[in-house]
Symmetry: C2
Subunit: 194 residues, 2 copies
DNA sequence: TAATCTTACTAACAAACGTTAGTTAGTTTA
DNA sequence: TAAACTAACTAACGTTTGTTAGTAAGATTA
């Protein structure tokens, strides 16, 4: 019984440490020997658990990517107002960063080191996510819940404005995720001008 | 006379091509041989113009960083309202990206590959920039020009919401920088909610 | 118990890395 | 014209890279 358990958990440990190092030093800046040291085994031994360095990157990017997709779909199908949907999306982005900030960072910054075919796949996934969000904004405008803003600009401004959280958030600041979500939502929803 | 001219322009060509490659492939993902090929000389020949690969990164990061500082100071001392100041800052960030997007991208993404002491210097520069911007926001709130938003959140939301432009902007989209600045400003100033 | 599997190890490979040395042709300065 | 400088070249250096081969100890299965 424990065989598979142990295998999975060692593999997951490698992926988890890889996320940490990729975030800190970038994909190219992280060596398999650095990673092995963090895991506590020799570099060569890792190949009993993983296929290649590239596979680690793929696992991280697509693992997190799928989570984003699922959550967005989940939120979209609940029966709440459009502003509430956007607020829920903001909240879950923050939640993802708090829960697995390293992997989110890798998804955001290191996807360009995916190999050619995986990168195509990744871009398709990302495009679909953005399209989905754009549809929510468009529907919200149509319904009169949102101003007639430029949809592409609104979409990217919202997504992009969440990315600093990944760089900024640490528990030691003593800001709860709820406060953070509330403050960011307030600005995106109502603006800063008095 | 042309000696210095040629020297400067070849060095600048190297830096310019380096910005392009660092943006595309990251600092670690760019080799001196790749770069040399773009420049049209052998890798070893570049060392007649530059000291090291690190020096290229430093030149790019601090060159652009200084431009940001100067522009912000310039805007801050003009006698316009606080919302107008923020709008001017948004416009010049967009201008920087359009003018020298590759270098801006390197500043944003590859500063972490600066060596230890240069990184300290870089962070200090960045902190000062953020502090300066925070003061403008704080003053605007005090004067009643802005809502009583969380200053840190507003600061990073504004800065961060401009970063997608770097990834998104290309002339072929047919969006003028004026339109872009106007649309982004509209969202940050007034929000998306109707 | 015997056979198989798992997971670690050491050693090593071939390729790629940033950089230096040494040289040479052409240009500028004295 | 002679001396000095610039900027390119080829060759090579010592590391570091991701990865494979081969092996061995221990756990699991038949």
């Amino acid at each position: 019984m424990p065989i598979e358990k142990i295998k999975i958990s060692k593999r997951n440990l490698i992926i988890s440490e890889a996320s940490k190092l990729f975030k800190e030093r970038g994909f190219g800046g992280t060596t398999m020997r650095d990673l092995a040291e963090k895991v506590g085994i020799e570099a060569a031994s890792m190949y009993n658990h993983i296929r290649s360095k590239d596979e680690l990157l793929e696992e991280i990017c697509f693992g997190i990517g799928r989570k984003y997709d699922e959550q967005l779909t989940e939120i979209d199908k609940t029966k709440i107002s459009f502003p509430e949907k956007i607020e829920a999306i903001i909240a879950f982005h923050i939640q993802m960063i708090i829960e697995d900030g390293n992997a989110v960072s890798v998804l955001n910054n290191d996807w360009k080191f995916l190999n050619k075919e995986k990168m195509v796949e990744f871009k398709a996934m990302r495009n679909e996510y953005e399209k989905h969000l754009a549809e929510i904004i468009t529907a919200g405008i149509k319904e009169g819940a949102f101003k007639k803003v430029n949809v592409a600009v609104a979409l990217f401004t919202i997504l992009s404005s969440l990315r600093w959280v990944e760089l900024w958030y640490k528990p030691s600041r003593g800001v709860t995720k709820e406060d953070l979500a509330k403050d960011i939502s307030a600005i995106l929803m109502n603006g800063v001008k008095a």
